[in-house]
Symmetry: C2
Subunit: 309 residues, 2 copies
């Protein structure tokens, strides 16, 4: 449930959607990383995400194998971020051409990712179009710990991040500038973070067991947007430490999208050495994200953020 | 799970998909109107379908309210055709513009259809794109009668059709030629069959109770393709009566798409006067559809069909 570089923001659509549709009380719906549906004693997670040519990728630099991988991975990431396990998905392809080699590479990527993350491809839909649009609708199951919402943080809790922010964005810039073959030689880790994101399925059970997160989201929309997404009107988040890569600026780390890192809040300390960074605290407030700068907590305004640094 | 006018046919994609993905035995997957998933004691139906600008509609003649209605209705139709009831859906919009009035009309259509058919919109995803692509992924529940597959017919059974074939295609031709305002005056029923299809939810329980269908599909891909879809290599279908509208030719009735009528097989006679037409019989054979012409059963070949009439 991620937004492209559209003039019509997801925020606006969600507002419109919310004004039109009432989700049953027993279901959590519009506005979280996935929907939560209850069928009998089963809690199911339901999400969809797309990769559109010219918005999320260009064919010139994005090998189809990785595109297939990423299509699965970004949906898996949404499900993991709610504490769930992916189970089944449908694919929908809008394609302007019929290039068997390209399509087979795409399928191989989908197969690799779906096998790695334990999700079964159970059907699909194809249609003609002018540009490539690849979609995936995915179902997952909720563990015994239940659904971890975006909005669940309480004052006094700690804010944790798993992963290096801004890496995917740095990779994308290299790919756009130099193309795949050169970019991969310049900085493989960043390029692969963009092409082949690895949702943190391997560690999610440990995080849940140790931290019992009260809120969680993936950082696909950038770290700053994800922080705003877990905020409520009665809370502020104070950020005092961002795990910066030496080649990535604070601005890039905060605003770079498509990282698929996990952001969560918890009352626990990281006593068992899990590879997560404590980046800040939840305090009583009024829905603001503040960042430690020269010893002072300064409010980050979303609109001014890009020009602020 | 419907195909647009693409050079890359759904058949080819499905073949590719099938060669890459193995669906668990307890699940029915690729190649039916919906997938069937088992979660505990719940059987869930899972499907997705899209409406793409320039492939499935043009903005010039398709009012957004009806587009919203149709997006829900075509997915509901898939679920009904498996004997199920729709429950929840996600929407994914690729949009090239931000026209609030157009979008609100679209939402109103989605709201009307989702309320009428009892399906909850639980989330969505938006992205920028060059042309409009509207997608919907829908979940439904399976009734106590279970999943009615495409492939389940047995020799000796009767073939039934609910609805008038070719009506939607006739409406589309009028819309393309005269635009909405004139077309609706010329032949409202056909135009509305195209713009605002009505899945047969009101009658599905009666059909299941009375006929216990052994196979079922909707006719979204045209009557002839739907007949082929319910065939197996050991059976032929003999068609001896198509309920033709006086303004629709046999060719249009057989090949016109997007009707969302129900095609099913059953060993029962229509003794209780349900408004379904018996159009033919299932006989031992070799995977052929034959049509009564001048007293003789003639094979219909898919490839030659358009030039055959």
């Amino acid at each position: 449930m991620k937004e492209g570089d559209s003039s019509l923001s997801e925020g606006k659509i969600i507002k419109l959607l919310s004004s039109f549709f009432k989700v049953p009380k027993k279901w959590i719906g519009i506005g979280d990383d996935t929907a939560l549906l209850k069928y009998g004693d089963k809690n199911l997670l339901f999400t969809c995400d797309v990769l559109n040519e010219e918005v999320h990728f260009k064919r010139s630099y994005f090998p189809p194998y990785y595109l297939g991988w990423k299509l699965i991975a970004i949906n898996v990431s949404d499900i993991i971020s709610k504490g769930g396990k992916p189970s089944a998905c449908l694919l929908f392809f809008n394609l302007p051409f019929s290039d068997r080699q390209w399509l087979e590479a795409l399928m191989k990527g989908i197969k690799s990712a779906s096998e790695k993350f334990g999700v079964k491809v159970v059907g699909g839909n194809t249609s003609a179009s002018k540009t490539i649009s690849l979609g995936c609708a995915m179902l997952g199951t909720c563990g015994k710990h239940g659904f971890i919402p975006r909005k669940g943080a309480k004052a006094g809790e700690k804010v944790y991040l798993l992963g290096t922010p801004g890496l995917s964005h740095a990779g994308m810039k290299l790919l756009k500038r130099y193309g795949y073959n050169s970019a991969i030689k310049i900085w493989k880790k960043a390029v692969m973070a963009h092409l082949k994101p690895e949702p943190h399925l391997y560690i999610i059970d440990d995080i849940i067991t140790h931290f019992s997160p009260t809120s969680m989201t993936d950082t696909s929309d950038s770290l700053i947007e994800s922080l705003v997404n877990i905020l409520t009107p009665e809370l502020d988040i104070h950020i005092n430490h961002i795990p910066l890569h030496r080649k990535i600026s604070l601005k890039e780390a905060m605003t770079g999208g498509e990282d698929y890192n996990l952001l969560f809040t918890s009352s626990s300390e990281n006593t068992c050495g899990l590879p997560v960074s404590r980046i800040g605290s939840v305090v009583p407030g009024s829905g603001k994200v503040k960042l430690l700068k020269d010893g002072i907590m300064e409010e980050i305004k979303m609109r001014g953020f890009f020009s602020h640094f």
